[in-house]
Symmetry: none
């Protein structure tokens, strides 16, 4: 974790009740950040949303920035962790990819606040949560790499691929589908985009004719 760690959580919190407050603040913060953006949100808003006093927040977080760091450390990490499960449950590489993407869209659709915050913050640079974001991308990369390798063994996936690019190819398409959904006020079903999207990933937009040219 590149030296960031969880200073507050490990040291100061021990009982269940306290830990509860830590999470209450975190969830409240995500909600508030998602609604107004990080800078437009105030500590008071978060405190009110969490049902605690302003000062209490500083018992659990070093400062306002720290809340964002913890968010990426906890909330999205947890979501990304479940992607692994999903991948493990399928047999073939293509099924794994389909499961991964379906679950990805599903989770982001279920927690819109997280989705907004994730989309906004992963596209900023010189950011507070830089380290976390790097790590999360790495997790995604690892999943994709694994799937691609297996698919290559199975003969379902091309062997001439630069895996670093494949990751961006896939994560980019998924992110953009989520992003468009968010900007459209999330009125349609996001998860149903999974299958057509996976189809594009696998087959591309070209015809056989073009491929055999």
């Amino acid at each position: 974790m590149k030296g960031l760690g969880l200073p507050t959580e490990g040291a100061a919190i021990s009982t269940k009740a306290k830990n509860d407050k830590y999470h209450r603040i975190l969830e409240a913060a995500v909600t508030v950040f998602a609604q107004s953006g990080f800078h437009e949100s105030t500590i008071s808003q978060i405190a009110r949303a969490a049902g605690v006093a302003d000062g209490t927040i500083y018992l659990y977080f070093k400062n306002k920035d720290d809340i964002l760091v913890h968010f990426f450390n906890y909330k999205t990490r947890q979501v990304f962790a479940c992607f692994r499960e999903e991948v493990d449950q399928a047999q073939t590489a293509v099924d794994k990819l389909r499961n991964l993407i379906r679950r990805h869209l599903d989770e982001f659709q279920k927690d819109r606040f997280m989705a907004v915050l994730y989309q906004a913050e992963t596209h900023r640079i010189n950011r507070l949560a830089e380290d976390q974001i790097h790590e999360m991308h790495k997790m995604y990369l690892d999943l994709i790499a694994e799937i691609v390798e297996q698919g290559q063994v199975e003969g379902a996936i091309r062997r001439d691929l630069y895996v670093g690019l494949v990751k961006r190819y896939i994560i980019g398409g998924v992110d953009e589908v989520i992003n468009t959904w968010l900007h459209s006020d999330g009125k349609y079903d996001l998860t149903s985009m999974a299958d057509p999207l996976v189809d594009l990933f696998i087959r591309g937009i070209g015809t056989q004719q073009e491929l055999n040219r």
Copy 2:
């Protein structure tokens, strides 16, 4: 243009020298915004970077937000405009797509500040430049739609595609490639990613075998 227009530029400024100052501030602002983010940037920083007094900025822009709006209205519009040229210069759909993406990566590589700002702001919601961003996406969509349709006529592109999804599939992959490049401090050549990426778009990651299953 949904009534936004260029109120300041058109009305108040006429001579070349003045217009110069307008652009100097705009360029300075983009640089500063890209380095620190919009909210972390101050008017003083921008003024210093542009070599003018703080107050001078308000002769050319209504307020801080207005600078961002003008940026999207002028700078990125100009870049996106050149995409059209690039598309028009190629004959086949596949060549058009390749040209588009190569130029896209090239322009963003040449103006890193714009790239940063564009990536950051297009992924926020409830944004100031909402209208401009929507329009720009629409421009991109139109280009892709055109290419896809032509490709379908030519027989090079599949006929069973939902074009709305194809747009996100392509723009997402391109954006993510740019985004990764930005986060990696732009040390490698971005444009060289164009051909492998287009190959993925066209052929997907699947093998013939998989496709013919």
Copy 3:
């Protein structure tokens, strides 16, 4: 009270200590406003005079304007309230008028800052404290009207008077006496002006001869 009320005081402050700070700021503001005028006064000056930080003022008042509104809502209202007492304590209309004016001059002499602020703000139009000023004038009018009517019943006051004009006639004379005193640095005793002034109000400047002409 036309819906203005005392939003800050009533809701947010309850203990004696806090309320103390509210009043300290209010008194400090009146002093500063009286010395330099409302617009020439700065929040920093008021804060320094009240012995609090700039930001603290905004815990008790919505903004700078709000301080002025609260001043008229609280301080002068309180002064005007005591006029009623004074009137009630006398029997005849003439004695009531004399008591009223004596007390008026007395209170304004005792609180010079309030006097300055009152004189300055009641003579500006389109003002922030417009509502309060209207109401205060109305209170004065009611008192005068009451006195005049009683005097007419008693036979001590002429029956051919337009009461609206009588109010201005009296309030104008009193105000001008105060105003002159304020501009003369308040070196002489203001209250001693009450009796000669009342005499003028009652008898006018004309002689019997003139009256009987």
Copy 4:
């Protein structure tokens, strides 16, 4: 003139055309000041209203404050000067007083902007135009003193009056009548208030009975 003088006018302006601009600015300033108050008015507003450039104002006035000083030095002085004429045209003291007040109300009704500005500024202390205001009051006092003395000789006015108080008694009533008219949006005729008001000044509000008690 206590050392203030007319520095700009005397020295820099000579031709008729220039002097024209001086007056145009002054009239424009009065209009703007009356509408928004002195501090809320900007040099740009005044310049626009006068049809000149911002910088031009500084050729005729030392600074913003200087405009206010010149206003009292020129505009109201001129109005007060005509009061003398009015007084000279009547024979008896009472007629003189009636003429004075009628003209006073008439002039202020005719130039509402001046009235507003005059009312606002004469009731502020530590003011820029302090000297001018003192002098104007002195002019009024002299007029009243003259009238009262003549009236005393004629036997129409009481001999037991403190003239300093009589001035405030009269000027106060007149001012308040004007002030009320201004606050009521000037919808009724102000001049018609002159006769009833003079009647009050001469006879007071008391009855004979009271006077003879």
